[in-house]
Symmetry: none
Subunit: 225 residues, 2 copies
DNA sequence: TGACAATATGAACATATTATGAAGTTTTTC
DNA sequence: GAAAAACTTCATAATATGTTCATATTGTCA
């Protein structure tokens, strides 16, 4: 099943070695890079299944690398940060990473995260979740819920798509608004509430009481099923 | 297991001798230094497993020494102070010490603290052989405890995350309040007590009697498991 | 030990956030 | 260009959360 290639970008040799050992014990192949400058060229010519990317690096920092990789590849990336507080900032930047781990972490946890992300990605790749209640067709701008077609407006569709892009993740209203428009118009944050209300109404008609969209007080909305 | 070298920096000979005896009885090796001026050179050429550092010293004070050591080493440091009130000040200075003991202390307590700090540091270095009871996901704003999901509010979540960011470290109420808000609102310090109370209640439901969050009299709170 | 200070806790109080219906705007459709 | 649909804003109700307060309990230190 495994045997996938994991790229470890980490300048601290001891930690890199530790990760390598644990990952290989879990039957992954690994490659370690210690300098930020070498990462992008390597990723371009090799194709790792996942990248563990430390954010503090000599040469070029992890954020820049993540952004650059995202211009040409959708390879799963797990960011490693030194401070918990930093994760908040990173989330705001929308780098496109798939998960975040905070130092110090146990190698066991790291391996678990790697597996979780891979599982998620593979599920998506294998043609959308089989028994998923949601199905999204970005080309046709159509979405279905429990097998039944939802008649969504464009804004509602984009809102739902954004929320579904990361199940469980809490999106701030600002993050959601960004996704809704191509131009950068300024609209009232409360507008989101109204779209959520309308979207909920349509979901409710199909599956009453499921409460797919939940508000997280003081933060934003998430999809929680 | 032990046999680690503990550096005791203490100018009062009687106390130094007492500590030495107790620590050696617990199978540590010790070295005593009575003057502040001799500490840094000694630490540079020897490598203690931990330093017990009195803050009031002839020659050079403990704070300056701690700061200086931190420029070249991450060796665990336990600061020894004469008064509880002082710990508060020390915390604000962010010296990078790992724990604080207040005089007068029982040698037994000192040994316990030394062991606790060493255990913690080793756990971190070795990548944690123990399965962590806490797991937090900043993206989903979800935290689990002993594998079970905690339904935390945002403030509670941030509070827990901050406490967890450095296990064992004591955080003052001010430090904790800073983490709780993006804006710089002014709230009563006692507010933290209430949030801690609520958080404890939720932890208690999962693991009664574990007392994960401890109050440190006159200073603040820490997580100590 | 006794005086004092800090923490714990339940309840009252205050605030902030979300939900919702409706009205006002803009955009699309015919 | 009128009507319909979609979008945004607004006002207010409902609710969740945060804060303070008063008192009991516990810890510290002389």
């Amino acid at each position: 099943m495994e045997n996938s290639l994991i790229l470890i970008v980490e300048d601290e040799p001891k930690l890199a070695q530790l990760l390598r050992e644990y990952l290989e014990q879990a039957n992954f192949r690994t490659h370690v890079i210690g300098s930020g400058l070498d990462v992008v060229p390597w990723v371009e010519s090799n194709i790792p299944a996942l990248i563990l990317l430390d954010i503090m690096l000599p040469g070029k920092d992890g954020m820049a690398i993540c952004r650059e990789i995202r211009t040409f590849s959708q390879v799963p990336i797990i960011m490693v940060t030194a401070r918990v507080e930093e994760i908040d900032r990173l989330l705001g930047l929308e780098l496109g990473a798939d998960d975040y781990i905070c130092k110090p972490f146990s190698p066991r946890e790291a391996v678990a995260r790697v597996k979780a992300v891979l599982r998620r990605v593979r599920l998506q790749e294998s043609g959308g979740l089989e028994q998923d209640v949601f199905h999204i067709d970005s080309e046709k701008y159509q979405a279905s819920y429990h097998g039944r077609q939802l008649g969504l407006t464009v804004v509602e569709f984009r809102l739902l798509r954004k929320l579904l892009s990361r199940r469980g993740k809490v999106f701030s209203r600002d993050q959601l608004l960004d996704q809704l428009y191509d131009d950068h118009r300024i609209v009232n944050q409360r507008t989101i509430d109204t779209h959520v209300k309308n979207l909920r109404k349509k979901l409710e008609e199909i599956a009453p009481g499921e409460n797919a969209i939940r508000a997280v007080y003081g933060v934003g909305y998430k999809i929680d099923i």
